[in-house]
């Protein structure tokens, strides 16, 4: 309690603690504020109208200003206690960081690049998961076929009534031929819009579930794949018992190659995710998932587009082509095209 406070009026020299009161942080701010304001204006425009709204010189200035503001932030953190200044710099650097390192592609460029490069190479990375998914599906098909072949009552247990739509143990050879395999074409609006869309919606939902439930360690993915196989196997047995197996396969092949390909891709992606969750390796589960999840998601997204193609083929064209050999030919051709695409596209070119 030695120095009692005193009110000193207008004589700063008398107390050494506060001479002219030149604050380093204020000087620092005075020297840099102009470039912060410039960066703020640039970022504001880029946020409102996109990076493309900036001119060439401004685009050149942007990273320079960003780095100098970043270093301002570092300095300010060690010398300044002005809360508003610190918050402002933190905010400005974060905004410009997102702008400088933000995505540069438009949707169309992204899509094009995706089809040339991303999708086929992502599919190639999950080829072992694809093989595993194929095995699951085949196990289902064989089991479903076997069960229904022995006892047709299994059909109604394996195929939900909405999918069976009247077909079942009571169907005869002629009813299957007329109402299903060679049913008349319902006309463009009904076929392309309604039918394709219902099929697409149904298929994508199955595909999305198959993919995303990979998060649950892959068990639901495997179950869904086997379940899809079971239903298909049951259908095969039903037609086999009526001597229609060849025609049925032709009827399915026209879109089925694409559709089953898409389901298998979704399954493969789901299993790849499950793989990361079960065996995260060097990283934590969440990091490992983030590192590999994008690749799996690319596969699943591509599969959605395959489903779209399959929906068009199934709803629109299937009933237009009323000959089994021709249908088989189309099916084989699509299968060949897809395999070539996945094996060859985007290979060798730099990533």
């Amino acid at each position: 309690m030695s120095a009692l406070p005193t009110a000193v009026v207008a004589h700063p020299k008398s107390v050494p603690a506060s001479p002219a009161l030149i604050l380093r942080s204020s000087e620092f701010r005075r020297g840099r504020e102009e470039s912060w304001r410039e960066l703020e204006a640039l970022i504001g425009r880029a946020e409102r109208r996109g990076v493309r709204a900036l001119s060439a010189e401004e685009l050149q200035r942007l990273p320079l200003l960003y780095r100098s503001t970043l270093s301002s932030l570092s300095v300010a953190r060690s010398i300044a206690l002005d809360r508003n200044l610190l918050l402002y710099l933190e905010n400005l650097t974060l905004r410009s960081f997102l702008c400088v390192y933000g995505p540069r592609t438009s949707v169309l460029e992204g899509l094009l690049d995706f089809f040339r490069q991303g999708f086929p190479s992502a599919v190639r990375t999950v080829r072992w998961h694809f093989a595993l998914a194929l095995i699951c599906l085949l196990v289902g098909v064989i089991a479903g076929f076997w069960l229904t072949l022995v006892d047709e009552a299994w059909f109604s247990a394996l195929v939900p009534s909405a999918l069976a739509s009247g077909r079942g143990p009571s169907s005869t050879r002629t009813s299957l031929l007329d109402d299903e395999i060679f049913a008349p074409w319902p006309g463009p609006a009904q076929a392309f819009v309604a039918m394709s869309n219902v099929l697409f919606q149904h298929n994508t939902m199955v595909g999305i579930l198959t993919f995303s439930l990979g998060v649950a360690a892959g068990v639901p993915t495997v179950l869904l794949l086997v379940y899809q196989g079971l239903g298909f196997g049951a259908f095969m047995a039903l037609h086999y018992n009526r001597g229609l197996l060849g025609d049925f396969i032709g009827w399915v092949a026209i879109h089925g190659v694409t559709e089953f390909g898409a389901i298998l891709l979704c399954g493969a992606a789901g299993l790849a995710i499950a793989d990361r969750i079960l065996f995260p390796g060097r990283y934590g589960r969440v990091e490992s998932l983030a590192l590999n999840g994008r690749m799996a998601a690319q596969v699943a997204i591509g599969a959605m587009l395959l489903f779209f193609g399959a929906g068009i083929l199934e709803g629109g064209f299937r009933q237009l082509v009323a000959s089994t050999p021709l249908r088989l030919l189309i099916g084989a051709a699509t299968g060949l095209a897809w395999s070539l695409y996945f094996m060859r596209a985007g290979r060798g070119s730099p990533k």
Partner: protein, 305 residues
């Protein structure tokens, strides 16, 4: 050690914000505020309304075109299909070209960022948005699909359970990620625009304070005082300032009485002197996070001045 700046942020925001650190490629850590659940919900609703409006508009265009019968199942399919394309295009397009913001997110002040501080890559944007199909639109689709009628089957029940799990996901992880964020390695942060206000430093010196008086407070109290001085003028602010001024005078044993008109100027000068003192101390490697920090002021070297 927590700095005074962090203490002040926690105190002034009521501790409601969860903060994370992003490391930029340049090696400077940036602090980000995680978005609240409410903010994200509002942004999503806004985006959903915009998407629906766009869908309706495109559907109207289709109806006006001579395009076959648009009744019953055809119309419904058309709407569903347009909605599917529109919403995916919408989210992906805006998050790509607006640096991680959609119109709804921009209105609320949210951004999608890479969780590890890297660039936000297109495949991450695409992945996080397509996963939304399962989280939000699958239940909507199932509600109106033809398979949805006919009582609750075990399939629908199990689907419902999965959807609940997905909806609950952001509430059970600390970065508030939904499944799409988890897969894409992203998180959603609140990024309101901040403005640089004027410096509060007062150049005119009418009062002066000793180091001993200035040692009474730390950076935390300084920044709270700054926030107080930046409040818009009013009767409420005036009352607060007077209370704070009295407290400060008592603590630093300032005996000269201050008239009401002088309070603002006195506080600003005290702020300036305190900030000059604390910044100097910090530069010499002796930071004072708050007033409790150096419990024995004489313990750390000879007192200055």
């Amino acid at each position: 050690m927590t700095t005074g700046h962090e203490l002040a942020s926690t105190f002034l925001d009521g501790g409601g914000r969860s903060r994370r650190e992003l490391m930029t490629p340049e090696g400077v850590p940036l602090t980000v505020d995680l978005a609240d659940y409410g903010e994200r919900a509002v942004a999503f609703v806004l985006d959903f309304v915009l998407c629906s409006a766009a869908t309706a508009l495109i559907y109207l265009l289709f109806i006006l075109l001579p395009f076959g019968g648009t009744t019953g199942i055809v119309a419904r399919s058309l709407v569903l299909f347009i909605a599917f394309v529109v919403r995916n295009f919408y989210f992906i397009h805006f998050e790509l070209s607006w640096q991680g913001a959609t119109p709804g997110k921009r209105m609320v002040g949210l951004r999608v960022v890479d969780r590890r501080g890297g660039p936000l890559v297109p495949s991450a944007v695409v992945a996080r948005n397509l996963t939304r199909e399962i989280e939000a639109f699958l239940p909507l689709g199932l509600l109106q699909s033809p398979m949805g009628s006919g009582g609750a089957s075990w399939e629908e029940l199990s689907l419902g359970l999965w959807l609940l799990l997905f909806a609950a996901l952001p509430f059970v992880n600390r970065d508030r990620m939904r499944a799409g964020d988890l897969i894409a390695g992203t998180m959603v942060v609140a990024l309101p625009r901040r403005v640089l206000l004027g410096d509060l430093v007062e150049s005119a010196v009418r009062y002066s304070f000793t180091d001993k008086q200035l040692r009474a407070y730390g950076a935390f109290e300084l920044q709270v005082l700054e926030e107080l001085l930046r409040r818009p003028a009013g009767a409420d602010t005036k009352r607060l300032l007077r209370e704070v001024c009295e407290k400060i005078c008592r603590r630093i044993e300032w005996s000269t009485p201050l008239p009401d008109a002088e309070i603002g100027g006195f506080l600003r000068e005290f702020y300036t002197a305190e900030r000059a003192f604390l910044e100097r101390e910090q530069l010499f490697g002796k930071p004072h996070p708050d007033k409790h920090y150096p419990s024995n002021a004489t313990g750390s070297g000879p007192p200055l001045g």
